[in-house]
């Protein structure tokens, strides 16, 4: 029995057709996956169903009746609920207030708190209605969103990349909840690019590529690789790792303790580890467990105790980012636009941000523009950055291309130690493979590479050794070989912090 049916939906933005003639249907009580690369049009499509965007052509039918939501309110009243990828939550408000904001005609806050307790215990999603959302973990925040949806008895629940920020155990709990909802007759439209999860969870999958429906498949009968190739439209290579050959420690962190400047951040507590030359070390952990703070401490954006960080033979805890770069410690932060690159400036100008001293792109306070252009062109060429020219603004590049530029800018300065946070976050599969390969080659050349990431598959693929950052503390690093996802999950839950 069909719940919602989309016919020939088309939506064009200036210069790009986000959705081109999309048709498919979701059955009642079905978990239906929507697969596709970044920019394939998944988000635009669900925004049309949720009433945030109106289609140019085409129509939708909900339970056989025409359905044209002009705003989220109409969609919610019709029984559509959505959990957003970037949560639509308000940090300074309580759980109850957050949930009330997402409901039509909510009851008084006291009655609502009671309902929240009931629903959260029924579905095994423990949550205290009085707490401020800013104090919750990412997994708990997602529960807030889910409970907000469940209180409205939705017919269709849309979930946009729900597991990208969860630990493996939290993913298990989420899947139990979703299966239970399905058994009660709720349909779920599940957007993800994690193919293994889709194989275990979803009954059917619709695959989008460049705004078009490429096909529908039954995930159980496919392999992750075959689905990925449908998404990308070409064969995929996985990065090759050569034999590990470690040298002397290049970065030694000893009892690093740092109070977070963010009121909702996590402070670092006695973080100690050694990174050897030629080693790729992965730092796993769910966002908000001190990743940003660790990144700031290593890059020099926050200064620490002088002796807590040692780069080769120098103690650099009190050195600023420029001094650290000159010594060979380069970093690439998570946020591409606004932190790693200045959005309004050209690519050539952006090379000056980190390359000024090391690449000698200036003398006596004057810029060496031709040097910057030449360096930018070298990055564009070596790292396959697709841009019309290095005079284009950084913000005109797609996420994957800009990330290749940011990583390339650091790697071409031949760092002794390279620290990168979320190297492939929001990057399409082909660019992600390219970046991972580049990181491996950098380590092969003798540098130490520290990769902070929430993507466990990525860390398993490229790391030589592995540690977990949880509540501001790190576990003992251990060789990545032979470690299982379950073990990492336990470490991430904080139960096995050594």
């Amino acid at each position: 029995m069909t719940l919602i049916r989309l016919d020939n939906l088309t939506k064009a933005y200036p210069g790009v057709i986000a959705n081109d003639d999309i048709s498919f249907e979701v059955d009642k009580g079905e978990i239906h996956a929507l697969l596709g690369e970044n920019g394939a049009g998944k988000s635009t499509l669900v925004k049309m169903i949720y009433g945030l965007v109106q289609p140019d052509f085409g129509m939708m039918r909900l339970e056989g009746k025409g359905f044209t939501p002009t705003e989220p309110r109409t969609a919610r009243l019709a029984g559509i609920a959505m959990v957003f990828q970037h949560f639509s939550l308000f940090e300074a408000l309580s759980v109850t207030e957050n949930i009330a904001l997402g409901m039509e005609n909510p009851p008084s806050l006291i009655i609502l708190s009671d309902k929240i307790r009931k629903v959260s215990s029924k579905y095994g999603l423990s949550l205290d209605p009085k707490r401020l959302v800013g104090d919750l973990s990412v997994g708990e925040r997602q529960r807030v969103e889910i409970i907000r949806c469940l209180l409205q008895d939705p017919k269709l629940l849309i979930m946009d990349e729900p597991t990208s920020v969860l630990t493996p155990q939290e993913v298990e709990t989420l899947f139990l909840t979703l299966r239970r909802l399905r058994d009660e007759g709720t349909s779920i439209l599940y957007i993800s690019h994690k193919l293994e999860e889709i194989k275990v969870l979803c009954e059917r999958a619709t695959i989008l590529r460049r705004g078009k429906v490429i096909g529908t498949c039954v995930p159980k009968n496919e392999t992750a690789k075959s689905m990925a190739e449908m998404m990308v439209g070409s064969k995929l290579k996985s990065p090759k790792k050569s034999k590990a050959n470690f040298g002397m420690p290049v970065l030694e962190v000893d009892e690093l303790t740092l109070k977070s400047l963010d009121p909702f951040g996590t402070s670092l507590k006695n973080v100690s580890f050694n990174l050897r030359s030629g080693e790729v070390m992965g730092v796993a952990g769910v966002a908000g467990n001190g990743q940003d703070e660790l990144m700031f401490a290593l890059s020099g954006e926050t200064l620490t105790d002088k002796n807590s960080i040692k780069l080769e033979n120098e103690f650099i805890g009190q050195s600023n980012p420029v001094q650290r770069r000159l010594l060979g410690l380069l970093t690439a932060p998570e946020e591409r636009l606004g932190h790693a690159a200045a959005p309004e400036m050209t690519l050539a100008e952006n090379t000056l941000l980190t390359g000024f001293q090391r690449q000698k792109l200036g003398r006596r306070g004057f810029l060496n523009k031709s040097g910057a252009i030449a360096f930018a062109e070298k990055i564009v060429q070596k790292f396959d950055v697709r841009t019309p020219s290095v005079r284009n603004g950084a913000k005109s590049l797609s996420g994957g291309n800009l990330q290749k530029f940011v990583i390339g800018r650091e790697i071409l300065q031949s760092p002794r130690v390279f620290v990168v946070n979320q190297p492939t976050w929001g990057v399409d599969a082909a660019a992600a493979a390219f970046i991972r390969q580049a990181l491996l080659e950098l380590a092969e050349g003798g540098a130490g590479v520290l990769v902070i990431s929430q993507d466990l598959d990525e860390l398993m693929e490229i790391s030589d050794s592995f540690m977990v950052l949880s509540e501001g503390k790190v576990s003992k690093p251990r060789p990545a070989k032979g470690i299982t996802i379950e073990e990492i999950g336990l470490m991430m839950g904080g139960t096995e912090i050594a």
Binding site: V53, P72, S88, F90, A100, L101, G134
Partner: protein, 307 residues
């Protein structure tokens, strides 16, 4: 030394009322995530428009109504610039202040030296005869009580009503509010206009009751103090009263000290309220964590609905 504490307190309440009115309006504006630095300009527009209306109609009540309307209209200009044309809020607010001061001077050209119709004191059925409490609490005009009542209403609105919750949500995270289907721009425009109306009332209180006459530039920085008091109150309505009365107290004290011929140069005394404001703001924002938890997270950020 001839300073009576009772009359001092009674007059500090009068001195604080215009600032309290303007600050209450600005609190709502900032809670919705908008920083309007044009309070001074809207106050002086309220002062002159209210003055003109009261003089020509003979009724202070009409004056206050027109003052609120004129403040709201001027703030609508700011709202259009920042909410629809996405102009920078700081620059637009400063421009609004300069524009308001200039326009008010032009409008008020032929109104200098005229006395406005006087506003009667509110009748508390003889309670103003009670010693000490009487002159302090029960011997004021209606606007003084209205300003405190307005703080009460704003507090109830923000804390207990759904509309207040939505307003806070918009100021906290406009992208999330938009994703949930709330009309961010419409809510902010309404908040800005409420702020303008309150600033207009505050200005009219100056020209119709406190001074009472029209002189060019008569707000003399009261709008800026109102902005500072919102931060001082860490965006909590009740603390606005504390902040405004504290500031009113310092102003009145310095006037009295001057009048009693203290051997301090006048300039030091007149800068005292501003120095106190600066010191208080520094102390308030020293605790970084607490300040940033209370401040609306989207304050001053431009909202652009990117579908």
């Amino acid at each position: 030394m001839d300073i009576s504490v009772v009359s001092l307190i009674a007059s500090l309440i009068v001195a604080a009322t215009p600032i309290l009115l303007a600050a209450t309006g600005e609190l709502i504006v900032e809670k919705s995530g908008v920083l309007n630095l044009g309070v001074e300009g809207m106050m002086i527009m309220g002062a002159i428009c209210g003055f003109i209306a009261a003089v020509n109609s003979g009724s202070p009540f009409v004056g206050f109504c027109i003052a609120a309307i004129s403040g709201a209209i001027l703030s609508l200009l700011f709202a259009i610039l920042t909410q629809y044309l996405l102009a920078n809020q700081v620059a637009s607010g400063l421009a609004l202040t300069l524009f308001g001061l200039g326009l008010a001077a032009l409008l008020g050209h032929s109104y200098s030296g005229i006395k406005p119709p006087s506003s009667p004191k509110f009748e508390w059925f003889g309670m103003s005869d009670i010693s000490i409490i009487g002159p302090i609490i029960f011997n004021h005009d209606l606007m003084v009580y209205f300003s405190v009542f307005l703080v009460l209403i704003v507090w109830i609105f923000l804390k207990f009503t759904r509309a207040g919750l939505i307003l806070r949500a918009v100021g906290e995270n406009h992208d999330a509010a938009h994703a949930l289907g709330y009309k961010v721009i419409r809510i902010r425009v309404l908040a800005i206009m409420f702020g303008g109306a309150c600033a207009g009332l505050g200005g009219a209180y100056l020209s119709l009751i406190r001074v009472p006459q029209w002189t060019e530039g008569m707000t003399a920085g009261a709008g800026w103090i109102a902005l500072a008091i919102v931060v001082f109150a860490s965006w909590k309505p009740w603390r606005l009263i504390l902040g405004a009365y504290l500031f009113g107290g310092v102003t009145i004290l310095q006037l009295n000290l001057q009048a009693n011929g203290f051997a301090i140069p006048v300039s030091y005394l007149s800068m005292a309220p501003y120095l106190v404001t600066i010191v208080v703001l520094v102390i308030m924002s020293a605790d970084r964590t607490r300040a940033s938890v209370n401040a609306p997270a989207s304050l001053g950020k431009i909202f652009h609905a990117s579908s």
